[in-house]
């Protein structure tokens, strides 16, 4: 199977990238700093503690040994302690990452599920008004930053609609831990009250985070679809009796999706950064909040951990975008130029 081969090649490439990433992080965290032990333990640690820590890291051994030792520890969950939480940073990440991941993943799914069909329908002849809506959404999304939208939503919904789920992730006891993502866990454990509460709490931040993306994706899909309807193949299939539904959603959309998928990937990647302000506004307590606290308090291990998590997230994301592009465009997976 050609597709299997394509997948295998891309996965291999992603693995190589991950190795590169690990080398880079090793370099930044162990080689570049003059005194990594002091960095990790912070200014209040005693000289003896630092010396002990340095011994633990094996700083006197050859570099390659240090790297493998570091990698071994890393893969076995020894990510070092945070000077703020006094806990293994891996544990901190396990608490904070799922919250952000859930938030931005739902956002990117909503963006695709709303933005793409909106663009398609607006591009079809029926959508004269919709195309105006798409353009307006797009411009509003570009002009107003998402945390402002978030603040506005909080004010409006609490003042006029007496909607209280405007901060935090949940206001009832959390569901049993499965993945750490509260909404997902409440579904997995069939916890109805938690599901209702998390859904309510997700509502406003998701709108704030997704609005701009929906506009952008809808606009991109819209203009891509308009271009497709002037393509010869589109006209040909139409004269061959294609119903517009099949023509738009099967044939034209597939071509129009190529740039859309790329932008969705970029959006997803930028969400993990943009989510910070939205997380602040909604007191979300996700990874972005964790990372900023870490930076403010020079919590070195925590910073390294977030860099690693985000780095891995980008690599996996890139892989997914590549694979889906290869899936929809045979020219990409067969390595043929356009």
């Amino acid at each position: 199977m050609r597709f299997a081969e394509f997948v295998a090649r891309r996965v291999l490439l992603a693995l190589v990238t991950l190795v590169g990433l690990s080398l880079l992080i090793f370099y930044l965290s162990r080689i570049l700093p003059a005194n990594p032990g002091r960095l990790a333990l912070g200014p209040y640690a005693t000289q003896a503690q630092v010396a002990a820590y340095d011994r633990e890291l094996g700083l006197s051994r050859p570099l390659y040994e240090q790297y493998f030792y570091w990698l071994w520890n890393f893969l076995h969950g020894q990510w070092g302690l945070s000077i703020v939480t006094k806990d293994n940073v891996l544990h901190d990440v396990e608490i904070h990452f799922p919250a952000t991941f859930e938030l931005i993943t739902i956002s990117i799914i909503l963006t695709s599920l709303i933005g793409i069909p909106l663009g398609v329908i607006a591009a079809s002849r029926r959508g004269k008004i919709l195309s105006g809506v798409v353009r307006a959404l797009w411009m509003v999304g570009v002009a107003i930053p998402s945390f402002t939208v978030g603040l506005g939503l909080q004010v409006i919904s609490s003042y006029w609609f007496h909607f209280n789920a405007i901060i935090g992730q949940i206001s009832v006891p959390p569901p049993t831990h499965v993945t750490g993502m509260l909404w997902v866990d409440s579904i997995l454990t069939g916890n109805w009250p938690a599901f209702v509460s998390t859904s309510q709490h997700l509502l406003l931040p998701e709108i704030a985070l997704s609005l701009a993306g929906i506009g952008q994706i809808a606009q991109l899909t819209y203009s891509g679809m308009l271009d497709e309807t002037e393509e010869d193949y589109y006209l040909a299939l139409k004269t061959f009796g294609a119903r517009s539904f099949a023509l738009d959603f099967k044939y034209a959309l597939r071509s129009a999706l190529i740039p859309v998928l790329t932008v969705l990937g970029l959006l997803y990647a930028s969400l993990i950064a943009n989510a910070f302000l939205v997380e602040e506004v909604f007191s979300w307590g996700g990874l972005s909040t964790y990372a900023v606290t870490a930076m403010q308090s020079d919590d070195f291990n925590a910073i390294v951990a977030t860099v690693i998590v985000i780095g891995v997230f980008y690599v996996v994301l890139n892989l997914l975008v590549d694979l889906s592009l290869g899936y929809i465009d045979p020219r990409i997976r067969l390595g043929v130029g356009h």
Binding site: A236, L237, T239, F240, Y251, R254
Partner: protein, 326 residues
Amino acid sequence: MTSFLEINGLNLSVHSDGRVLPILSDVSLTLERSEAVAIVGETGSGKTLTARAVMGVLPKNAVIRSGTITFNGVNVLTKEGAAAAREHIAMIFQNPMSSINPLFRVEDQMNDVLNWSLHGRKETKEEKTSRIRSALEGAQCYGDGKILRMFPFQLSGGMRQRVMIAMALLRKPSLLIADEPTTALDVTTQKEILSLLTKLTKEEKMSLILITHNLGIARESSMKTYVMYAGRVVEAGPTAQIFRKPLHPYTKGLIDSIPSLDKSRSMEGIDGEIAQQDRAAVGCCFASRCSYAIDKCLTRQPELKELAPGQKVACYVAEQGGLRVV
């Protein structure tokens, strides 16, 4: 009695940058059953838009200002009429590179085209497969099993054109419109595709509209020829007669400029090109390039008049009995 296909006084404009540009002016064309007509004219003369008007797939910014098109007596300028006409007319688009969606296997697209033509009628998988096979054979696409599994970009230009023809054949059309079916192909393949089209029109009793730059092709494969210039039909009539005795200066220039028909040269013999103002000219649309022009030519567009049996020409000088260089 009405003809199989009748275009009558078609006027078409496009909206572009807030302006309305006339593109087709007073285009008329008739086609009988089993007849093969050629539309010739240089680039921008309006051949493709005429065909697209018949198929009801005009660009969004195009409007038909007046005129009628009927197929089999049905007005195709209504939505229903266009859909009805498409049941019997198939068009092969100008560029075989772009006329098949590159992202789907040939199989996929042929299956869809077949299913659309069934209108919900149920057919077994075997019946469908054999129909697709026979369409491919009809289009002389051999080794069909392999072709079906391929993506369009894996096929040569000639093969792609055959696949297009096969898709058209799936619908068993009674009229085939082929827009420059051979332009992008090498000479040998051109010949093969043309003889395929001719064979199909004979065997399947299809009518054919062949759009081409290439006068040699028009001469070989058509019974009637329409010569278009700047969105107008400037000369029309039996092909042999037009080639023997062209009456319009433009046609004459075209034919004179072909050193040998086998070389099948295109429109290189006449200096200049169609200018936008020619389409909206008060006088004759060809006046700016015509070496026979007289004063009258600048005052009004000449009408198409039958100057020889079956041969219509829009030219004052031809009306007065002949082309003398002034």
